[in-house]
């Protein structure tokens, strides 16, 4: 295992921990996006660039999109 791969694995481990220890949903969405970025880096250094592209877009665009939409809807309802 090359050092870069070790760094990527460590980042993913720390990122996962950061996601579950973040309690505020809005912040959690952003941390989840960063965690996805770490996963994408992991896939690149393990020579799976195609998976990295999907991971990057799913975790930094599509998933936050749906979560933020749901959060916005919930906040709107709470205000009424």
């Amino acid at each position: 295992m090359i050092p870069l791969q070790l760094v990527a694995i460590t980042l993913v481990g720390l990122g996962g921990l950061a996601v579950v220890t973040t309690r505020d949903p809005l912040r959690q969405v952003l941390v989840l996006g960063l965690y996805g970025l770490a996963l994408a880096v992991l896939f690149v250094v393990f020579q799976a660039p195609d998976v990295a592209i999907s991971e990057l877009v799913v975790s930094s665009v599509a998933a936050p999109f749906i979560f933020l939409a749901a959060l916005a809807k919930l906040r709107g309802r709470r205000r009424e």
């Binding site: 660039p49 592209i53 877009v57 599509a62 999109f65 939409a69 916005a72 809807k73």
Partner: protein
Amino acid sequence: MSRTARLALFAGSGLVLAALLVWGLTGLPAFGDFQGEYGWILNDVAGSERHVTNVVSAIVFDYRGFDTLGEEFILFAAVMAVALLLREARDERERPRDEVRSEAVRAVGLSLVGPTVVLGLFVIAHGYLTPGGGFQGGIPTAAGLLLIYAAGRYRAYRAASPQWLLDAAEGVGVAAIVAVGIAALLAGGLFLENVVDLGTKGTLASSGTIAILNTATGLAVTAAVVLLCHEFIEEVMYPE
């Protein structure tokens, strides 16, 4: 159950689980030691048998094409279920206006639309040549369209992805895969067998039905992701 008893139960079961995990870890093959014989065989033969330079696509759309058909229908069913639950007759109401956002968000968002869509289309088009394919390329293409909305241009986003076009693209994409399978049957082959001329390896005109199935998947995935996010956007844009 008291707090002490619960903690004791957790400590006991936690220790057993940890022991099991460590025991399992020691039995794992060494790092980088791949034991899938089938994978090595396909790595050797896919290039000459199917004229592809990306073996993953040959597996997904040819050797394991039937599995991909199933995956395609899972995605299709999931999107249809979301649409069934969330879609309402909204068209009679007035279209919402674009919310005023910061100029920086608009500028960065809109300048990313073009490159993201082009990247997605590139990844789809070269699915059987370089890493990527219909699944991997469909998601960036859809994300590019969604960026128009994220940049605060709801109307432009609606114009770029009208409902009828999304519905048609999703249906056509999934149906094309079944159609290719049936066409292979009619041509005297097996269902989803690669019966088309394989062309020159390493060029866009290669890999036979893999190219067709790859493009159909790209279309279906793009439409599926946009449709899925679209239903959520509508929920936000039309508050009850």
